[in-house]
Symmetry: C2
Subunit: 444 residues, 2 copies
């Protein structure tokens, strides 16, 4: 009998095939893996082609800075020490972000914090050097004290919410201040080195900002606008789709959310992403504040976008509740549902239309015109539905069966003021950011 | 008549008070402002005292590196060029994060990426230098080509989801590679400088990681655990509070969420934060993966925490739907509500208890013991409630009035399987991460 050891390690076991047969199989599986990875990478680019452009932009900015500061006259003579140009490259890599807002925010923070911290660092250097001229230990204590205090205080300050936009600046402040104070114990031409590095960092920041803005810029403001508009649209899609799915059907509803019939309707799932979009909306709004010169002018009401987003999310929670009524094990007899169907369908379609118009208004920055009409119509339908619910006689029904459609009706009644709040917030946004009046009103 | 101009600028207008009276007022308002700002800053520290400790830790790490590399023998003789020590300080400021996971992740990324990129950069330098010995333009083209390609490809790679944990490493790779390739056109002792800088960066990383871990460490894993436990507990608090608020009351419910009586019950609002905690949970889980040596051992199932968190959020959406029934303008007569009150209260209190036990199980890493009993009890109550709903005769009721409590009952029935899913996920977590068996079982 063959012992397990004598059979050799399992990795050498050749499945009874000659080795020249195995190689292609192995290669094939490797090819498959490479192919799958390649497809995934391709998908990253396809999902948002701006990512590829961003890569090329960063490459371009670094190359530009390299050639400029090291190879091209007279820029390569700009600095007293040849190696200071690398600070420009470092700056570009650290501050070049996907969007203009983030790049501008980091760039301005970096330039301001570096200059300020370097000036202070040179001051501390002079104090330490003069007060303890030939005393090495004394210098170490003085500089150690300042570095520790600045590091500790500035790091703590990064937690203060009001200073969040200057977070990067605070970090750079600690970095530069410590580096300058400490390196003070070095060469004679200290102040020249510091000045050259600041100059280099400013050149790097300017190159990054210019490339970021001039070549296919990605505006955070625009992305935020599109996100808010898309989220509102998704709710509209749900409401318009819901009426068809819930009321026009027979007795059958799938028991599980994974059921075939609901999976084939993406508009019923789209709103799910609205539920969790809070943090990305807030990040975008914070970054958009750096984009002054974007088409909105200096003081664009980014907070109002966040408010519209929050109201949209409030409404999405109600829609999540509506969605849960697809999954109830018992459903009311069609005869009962058909009683409330008319007004419910009316609410769904009017609120759906209102939301879609609001979405297109936010997206195109045009004043919404017929939203109020749709909302008034949905209010009327909601009033009628209330009266209808009061009038239905309940003798013949089972409470458990009729509760889901009745609850759907109540939620729909509850959705109407929600939509009205969104509409009001969008109207306020239209006023604050001077949305244009649509052409259709002007044209005959 | 006095012209507006002759009255002087508005800022000089003294409100009819002599100037010595005004000064204290101004100072008082300034004092008030300073006081308010100081109070806000104090609150940042009070909310999480670990922030103050973090500030001190960063200060300590920078001071340590400064003193070590610039003032203390024999470390200050470590480098051939005196200024390379500043790279250690820069590294500390850039990688020292609040939590151990983030610091470790950044530190390891930084060390690996710097070493790799520097080696490649030196290689490129040699190629460029040898192939185009005295041709400046040729060198510029070769180096420009490599810098551009590396910058573009690595920047694009940062968008690939699978590479997210190495995002910082990719950035540092671009940075170091560009800096090394470009600065190759510089001093003779090129390779020594590169080696010294890598050494300096490694020293900086090690100091940051050691200080971060050894002094009051903040473990992401622990924070994630606490967050998940707290979220589960919040849902439990809501359910236990809900039964008292919804069923034990008379006819009156406040119409608005801002109403006085609901604002005084924080447990009814606590769950709101669960709705939007997705991104922080995922970030924490990603960072926690770097904390191998934390008390959980090498392969802790962080993904399972995210799963529990997601199920908790699913349940929170249902609770948001329950919460909306506080705000309905019509409420069922107490007589109707009292019919379903018993079983609804039972479900609320059993699921509440189950959730609270699950929360404490996650928090203390102890196997939950009586959760299944509570869930079984709530299932029985849910069955009884279904039968009850089937039996209630509806002749005397108005549909609009009875729908809210009936819908509440249906949602509560729907909450039970939700809680069961959470319990199963926590049981799986307990198995995967070897939760300890509670003492109460062992003790008599």
């Amino acid at each position: 009998m063959m012992s397990p050891e004598s059979a050799g390690p399992i990795t050498n076991y050749n499945y009874g095939l000659p080795s020249e047969w195995r190689k292609p199989l192995l290669r094939q599986s490797l090819d498959n893996k490479v192919y799958r990875v390649a497809r995934k990478i391709k998908k990253v680019g396809q999902d948002d082609p701006r990512r590829i452009v961003h890569g090329l932009k960063v490459g371009l900015a670094i190359t530009l800075a390299s050639l400029l500061l090291f190879y091209i006259e007279p820029f390569n003579k700009l600095f007293h020490q040849g190696q200071n140009g690398i600070w420009a490259i470092m700056t570009i890599v650290l501050i070049f972000e996907f969007s203009v807002g983030a790049t501008l925010g980091k760039g301005l923070n970096r330039m301001a914090a570096t200059s300020l911290a370097a000036a202070l660092g040179v001051g501390i250097h002079n104090i330490a050097f003069r007060s303890t001229r030939n005393n090495n230990a004394g210098q170490a204590v003085v500089i150690g004290f300042f570095v520790f205090t600045t590091g500790a205080i500035c790091t703590f300050m990064r937690f203060i919410p009001a200073l969040k936009p200057y977070d990067y600046g605070l970090m750079i402040f600690i970095l530069t201040f410590s580096m300058v104070s400490v390196s003070s114990y070095g060469p004679e031409d200290f102040e020249t080195v510091v000045r050259d590095r600041i100059l280099s960092i400013i050149i790097g920041s300017v190159i990054a900002i210019v490339v970021c803005i001039c070549i296919c810029p990605v505006w955070n403001g625009e992305d935020l606008q599109n996100l808010i508009a898309k989220n509102i649209e998704k709710l509209g899609n749900f409401l318009e789709g819901f009426k068809g799915e819930y009321f026009h059907k027979g007795e059958y509803f799938p028991n599980s959310e994974d059921g075939q019939s609901l999976d084939n309707k993406p508009f019923l799932k789209g709103y799910k992403s609205v539920l969790t979009s809070k943090s990305s909306e807030e990040t975008m709004a914070n970054l958009a504040r750096w984009e002054w010169q974007y088409r909105f002018g200096f003081k664009h009401p980014w907070k109002q976008y966040v408010k519209v987003g929050a109201l949209t999310r409030e409404c999405a929670y109600k829609i999540e509740a509506l969605n849960s009524y697809f999954n109830f094990e018992f459903q009311a007899p069609y005869e009962f549902r058909s009683k409330i169907q008319g007004q419910c369908t009316q609410i769904c379609s009017e609120t759906g239309k209102a939301l879609k118009e609001l979405a297109s208004a936010v997206k195109t920055m045009t004043k919404p015109t017929s939203v109020n009409i749709h909302i008034e119509k949905s209010k009327v339908a909601s009033l009628k539905l209330k009266l209808l619910l009061d009038m239905i006689l309940l003798e013949d029904y089972n409470l458990r069966e009729i509760t889901p459609p009745a609850a759907v009706a109540l939620i729909l009644i509850d959705v109407v003021p929600c939509i009205e709040k969104i509409a009001n917030a969008v109207h306020e946004l239209a006023y604050l950011s001077h949305f244009k009046t649509p052409d259709s009103i002007v044209s005959p």
